[in-house]
């Protein structure tokens, strides 16, 4: 994979200009090669069933992509749909002024401080209203998240680590009311996977004590974590500011593996995670083994993105929670959106 060569100055300038402000920076950044708006969450229907969802709007230069995955945890069924279009009015696009991304009739937009999501496809039709429970978190240094040693190995990275969700899911002619929690990620930057990296494992943990943890492990070609792996801990409301997590303090190891029947790729399944400064020691277990997306029609890549459950201890007390885990680069070296030269 060839990488774009951008002078180091660009990184410095990008960093200097990165006074991130909202709602502007929830909108699109056309100067960035790659950008995505990422929602994941755990939902429960009125009739007591559990679901996980992922809705992502990607933009790679002029190309707008969208993925919608639905994990029916009680029905043990995983389905997804995808869209790809050039950015054109009425077809696909994203506003530069505020959060307003769309692809066909899927959309994610901000209205009165809430985020409205809508997607439709094989998984059914999902409409959600998300209310942020915490302010946006800027990862890395003031929102610039380093992914590797090169000048282009970074992204602007913003999350809202907990949003309460209400809405509905319609499938097979039946409509169910939903409620639950969601996580919002927004990244933009030059794109391109750092040299010597084969993929990443990303974790979004929403713990039952009201705290959240974001972690990503950049995986080198030999499978070990690159020094640019990092994370952010968001304490419960009122318990302080978000704080970066240094990879030195993280112990992360897969305990079991799962082989995809579709791509034959072997993914880690159950993870053990401990972060010493946070006194966190948990096991992360997929709620459904097969949550693999094979998105040949849009991004052309294969990745695992799924709902998981958390069990363990924090600060000496038992803790539970919900997580979403993304694992890329296991089925060949393609990574979502990173297929540009």
């Amino acid at each position: 994979m060839r990488r774009r060569v951008v002078p180091a100055l660009a990184f410095v300038l990008a960093g200097a200009a990165a006074a991130i402000s909202f709602p502007r920076d929830h909108g699109s950044h056309p100067d960035a090669t790659l950008e995505w708006w990422y929602w994941t969450g755990h939902l429960r229907s009125d009739d007591g069933r559990s679901f996980g969802f992922q809705l992502t709007f990607f933009r790679l230069r002029d190309l707008h992509l969208a993925h919608f995955a639905w994990s029916d945890l009680d029905g043990s069924k995983f389905t997804f749909a995808q869209k790809a279009h050039l950015g054109l009015p009425g077809i696909a696009g994203a506003s530069e002024a505020h959060l307003d991304a769309f692809n066909e009739d899927w959309f994610a937009r901000e209205k009165d401080g809430k985020q409205l999501l809508h997607a439709r496809g094989a998984p059914g039709e999902l409409s959600l209203t998300l209310t942020p429970e915490k302010p946006p978190v800027l990862h890395g240094e003031a929102g610039i998240s380093r992914k590797g040693p090169g000048p282009d190995d970074y992204s602007h990275y913003v999350s809202i680590s907990r949003l309460s969700a209400t809405g509905s899911w319609t499938s097979g002619g039946r409509s169910r009311a939903l409620h639950g929690d969601a996580w919002f990620d927004h990244e933009w930057g030059p794109g391109g996977l750092p040299r010597g990296t084969q993929g990443w494992d990303w974790f979004a943990l929403q713990l039952s004590d009201g705290s959240e943890l974001m972690l990503y492990r950049m995986r080198t070609l030999d499978g070990s974590a690159s020094p640019f792996s990092a994370g952010t801990f968001v304490p419960p409301t009122g318990a302080g500011a978000p704080a970066p997590v240094s990879w030195k303090d993280v112990r992360l190891a897969p305990r079991t593996h799962w082989t995809s029947p579709h791509s034959k790729a072997v993914y880690p399944a159950v993870w053990s995670l401990s972060v010493a400064p946070l006194a966190l020691d948990v096991t992360i277990t997929p709620l459904l083994a097969d949550q693999e997306l094979s998105t040949a029609e849009s991004t052309g890549v294969v990745y695992w993105e799924g709902a998981c459950t958390i069990e363990g201890r924090r600060a000496g007390r038992p803790v539970g929670g919900r997580a979403y885990v993304e694992m890329t680069g296991y089925a060949g070296r393609d990574v979502p959106g990173f297929s540009a030269p």
């Binding site: 002029d62 790809a84 054109l88 009425g90 077809i91 297929s339 030269p341």
Partner: protein, 887 residues
């Protein structure tokens, strides 16, 4: 049950009849059957070839439209393209289906040799054959939303679309090229391609190779697929798309969806069924195709006359056998059936042979027709041979049916033969003679009907009744031919009286004595030659008219258009900034930016929407008005009042006249315009509406130009000015600059090439007709063997007999030619005053190319005398003793 003696069983009896009347004679003299078989074969071949060529044009249009439309249910188009912003108002469609926007256009591929010779646009391409340029170098450009386009179009990469293909497409300026194009030019992923698009030289990178299926196949592999934004940039269509295809979700009712979408379309946009584009393209060439079909049918008609001729000769020759058969109790039905079978057999044999000949002829015809279509109507059209099967079925059906029909009359005549034995051959002529007055009455009736038909208007722009009138004239010709033969046979005696030599007297006797049979030959000849003469007059008249028109219209000194590889017509358009650049070149007095684009009316009929700087017409004229007013004043007023000028074909088609209004669809919705004047225009038969450029820009917002007319300052050397323009624009634009003289020559060159197919068909028809004459003469010579023998016995020399036979041939040819001139006058009148105005909408001044006409007539006359040589030999070789014995 006992059978009566001498009464053969029906089955074996019919076999007997067949053997006596048909198979026996045919086997004894196969040459006599061969001639009509050949005639039918040529007719069928011509009809099949023309039909196939026309079929291919229609099928190619349909396939091209279908492959671009793909699985689409509807196509949204706009009068001035679709502003990208308007797509937002179509977003609601996603609830019921998908949207696939596309940008379309053409580009010219520059090969490496030419790319280095940009500053020598003239002459550079002259060394290459026009066909090579026509076939290879025009590429269709299709810009798509490649992320989501697969829902509608079949665009497939040879290899799986890897990250590099996507990456290159994302970079912009990259194209996908069909396998065949890649092979021809040695292209692979990453190759750089030099093209001319939108009048500017461009370079694009090959991002991937397309499999030759779907759109790539329909374009014949002459295609560049690119992302929509790159296509917009290449073609100068920023901010616009040309079409949006709508594919409905399964289960959505088309009719409901159409209603919903149509109701919410922004003004200036329209929703059509996907076939509409093919229909429109087809309509453009419809008149041309129809004329070709008519000519193709003519050759078949001449072939049918040959069959009638052959069968009636057979009937005449076998009168004794018929009499004998009748005497032994054979029924009329059996005789009728036997001759019908003969005609049918000739028809089937001829048709079979014709289909084989047609296979070869169709290639030539397809090349010629495709060349004309791409030169005149659709520069980027890719026309491939469609299945030959349709043409085979059609021409076979027509060939066999025509053969059978042609047999009916002579076969019926055979049933009228009395059972009385020993009737002399030829006395059937008495039957023909008796029917002469009825024939005359019918011929007059046919002519009257033809006149009536010629007064009827076109149906949907189609001169059906005009062609019907031609058919009726042909019928009248067939009916009146024996009369003409009788009249002509009597003429020598009447004119020369006793000064007539024995041979001439003899020849006239031979000729007039067989008015029925010679009538058919004469009719066939008259029809073929008459149509040819009429076409000669028509073509010459149109050519002369165009010549005069060109002289009065082409008032500018230089014309600039986008370089299109030395082709005639326009390929792509030019950016507006060229106008200011050229205007400022020293020696340029004025420029007239001309814009022409294809438009369709509310019923889907194509016309041309054009705009020019009416100030230039107001200054130098150049739009000759039908009513003779000064176009300068009219143009001045039209510009001041926002009126339009319309071309004569447009005025005819839509009943537009000065002072009336026409309604045009504009991006802001329909709008009425007052017609300031109707101008003569022979450049297109669809009809043109011309707006002043300022008005056009304000309404349509389309700033591109199609061509730029340049007026040189007084005393300026035009050649030098051309060089200055090319120098000033070199590198930035790829232009073709033509001088006034070159353009005039070009117009006539296009004209002549267009009528090349017509000429070939005429030649074929005449060849068949001359064959017919030879056939008739050979038959009569053979038949009159006894008479010749008698003549030899009473002292006539062999050369005398030969001369008499040649004279008979001359009489036949002369009668045919005279009838042809009469028929030709009628055909020419119908073509020029009825068919042409109805199908093309042009006023054409009559021009009679006397020398050409005389030459054609002399050629035919000479050919018919030549056709008398073989019969003369047969006649003079008769052994008097044997003949007498027979007698």
């Amino acid at each position: 049950m006992s059978r009566g003696p001498g009464r053969p069983r029906a089955g074996s009896g019919f076999r007997l009849v067949l053997r006596a009347l048909v198979t026996g004679p045919a086997l004894r003299r196969p040459a006599r059957v061969a001639l009509p078989v050949l005639g039918v074969a040529i007719g069928v071949a011509a009809a099949a070839a023309i039909h196939h060529a026309n079929d291919s044009v229609t099928a190619s249009f349909r396939e091209a439209a279908a492959s671009v439309a793909g699985r689409t249910d509807f196509v949204v188009t706009g009068v001035a393209g679709i502003p990208v912003g308007d797509l937002a108002s179509l977003a609601f469609v996603w609830r019921m289906g998908s949207l696939a926007p596309a940008v379309t256009g053409v580009a010219v591929l520059r090969d490496r040799a030419r790319a280095g010779l940009d500053d020598r646009p003239q002459g550079v391409v002259q060394g290459r054959t026009q066909d090579a340029i026509d076939q290879e170098e025009v590429l269709q450009v299709l810009g798509i939303d490649w992320g989501g386009d697969s829902v509608v179009r079949d665009i497939r990469l040879v290899a799986a679309p890897g990250p590099s293909v996507r990456g290159r497409l994302l970079e912009g300026g990259a194209v996908l090229v069909p396998e065949s194009l890649a092979r021809r030019h040695g292209l692979s992923t990453g190759s750089v391609l030099s093209i001319v698009a939108g009048g500017e030289p461009r370079r694009v990178t090959v991002a991937g190779i397309l499999a030759l299926s779907g759109v790539a196949r329909a374009s014949g592999g002459d295609l560049l697929v690119t992302d929509l934004f790159t296509a917009q940039r290449l073609l100068g269509k920023e901010g616009r798309v040309d079409r949006v295809d709508v594919v409905l979700d399964p289960g959505v009712r088309r009719a409901d969806a159409a209603k919903t979408i149509a109701a919410r379309l922004p003004p200036g946009l329209s929703l059509d069924a996907p076939g509409r584009a093919a229909e429109t393209a087809d309509r453009m060439v419809r008149a041309f195709r129809f004329n070709l079909n008519a000519l193709g049918s003519l050759t078949l008609l001449v072939g049918a006359f040959l069959i009638a001729n052959a069968v009636s000769i057979a009937v005449l020759r076998r009168r004794p056998e018929i009499s004998a058969l009748r005497a032994i109790g054979c029924g009329r039905a059996a005789i009728f059936a036997a001759f019908c079978l003969e005609g049918l057999a000739i028809g089937i044999l001829g048709t079979a042979l014709g289909e084989v000949l047609g296979l070869f002829a169709s290639r030539a015809a397809l090349r010629a027709v495709a060349g004309t279509v791409s030169r005149i109507y659709q520069p980027a059209a890719h026309i491939t041979g469609s299945a030959y099967g349709g043409a085979v079925l059609m021409s076979a059906a027509v060939g066999i049916a025509a053969s059978l029909l042609a047999t009916l009359v002579p076969a019926w005549e055979a049933t009228r033969v009395d059972p009385a034995p020993a009737m002399r051959p030829g006395s059937i002529e008495a039957v023909v003679q008796r029917g002469l007055s009825r024939r005359a009455a019918l011929a007059v009736a046919a002519l009257a009907a033809a006149w009536g038909a010629s007064r009827l208007p076109a149906i949907d722009g189609f001169p059906f009744f005009g062609f019907a009138a031609v058919g009726l004239v042909v019928a009248a010709l067939a009916l009146a031919a024996p009369l003409a033969v009788r009249f002509a046979a009597a003429l020598p005696r009447r004119l020369l009286g006793r000064f007539l030599g024995a041979e001439t007297r003899l020849a006239a006797g031979f000729f007039g004595g067989a008015a029925g049979r010679n009538g058919t030959a004469v009719a066939a000849l008259a029809m073929a030659l008459g149509m040819t003469l009429a076409m000669i007059v028509t073509v010459a008249s149109i050519r002369r008219t165009v010549q005069v028109w060109v002289a009065s219209t082409l008032t500018s000194d230089l014309w600039i258009k986008a370089d299109n590889g030395g082709r005639s017509g326009f390929l792509g358009d030019l950016p507006e900034d060229l106008v200011a650049l050229v205007r400022d070149i020293p020696g340029v007095a004025a420029v007239d930016p001309f814009r022409a684009r294809d438009a369709v009316d509310a019923k889907g009929r194509p016309f041309t929407l054009a705009s020019g700087d009416l100030r230039v017409i107001a200054r130098v004229g150049g739009a000759p008005l039908l009513d003779g007013r000064d176009s300068r004043e009219v143009a001045r007023d039209a510009r001041a009042r926002g009126d339009v000028l319309v071309s004569e074909p447009f005025a005819r088609r839509y009943g537009a006249a000065p002072g009336r209004t026409v309604t045009l669809a504009t991006p802001a919705g329909p709008r009425e315009f007052r017609v300031a004047g109707v101008y003569r225009d022979y450049s297109n038969d669809r009809g043109t509406v011309v707006l002043d450029r300022e008005l056009y820009l304000s309404l349509f917002g389309d700033r591109r130009i199609t061509s730029l007319a340049v007026l040189a300052a007084p005393g300026e050397d035009v050649e030098a000015l051309r060089r200055r323009i090319l120098f000033a624009t070199h590198g930035r634009y790829a232009l073709h600059v033509a001088t006034n003289r070159e353009l005039r020559a070009e117009v006539l060159r296009i004209f002549d090439r267009t009528f090349a197919v017509t000429r070939a068909l005429e030649a074929i028809a005449i060849a068949i007709a001359v064959l017919g004459i030879a056939n008739a003469l050979v038959a009569s010579a053979v038949e009159r063997r006894r008479a010749f023998g008698l003549l030899r016995a009473i002292g006539a020399s062999a050369p005398q007999i030969r001369r008499a036979t040649l004279l008979e041939a001359l009489l036949t040819g002369a009668t045919g030619t005279a009838a042809a001139i009469a028929a030709g006058a009628a055909f020419a009148w119908l073509l020029l005053s009825v068919i042409n105005p109805q199908s093309f909408g042009w006023t054409v001044a009559l021009a009679i190319p006397r020398a050409t006409l005389a030459g054609a007539a002399a050629l035919v006359l000479g050919a018919s005398v030549f056709a008398g040589i073989l019969p003369g030999r047969i006649a003079s070789a008769v052994d008097p003793a044997a003949a007498l014995q027979e007698e």
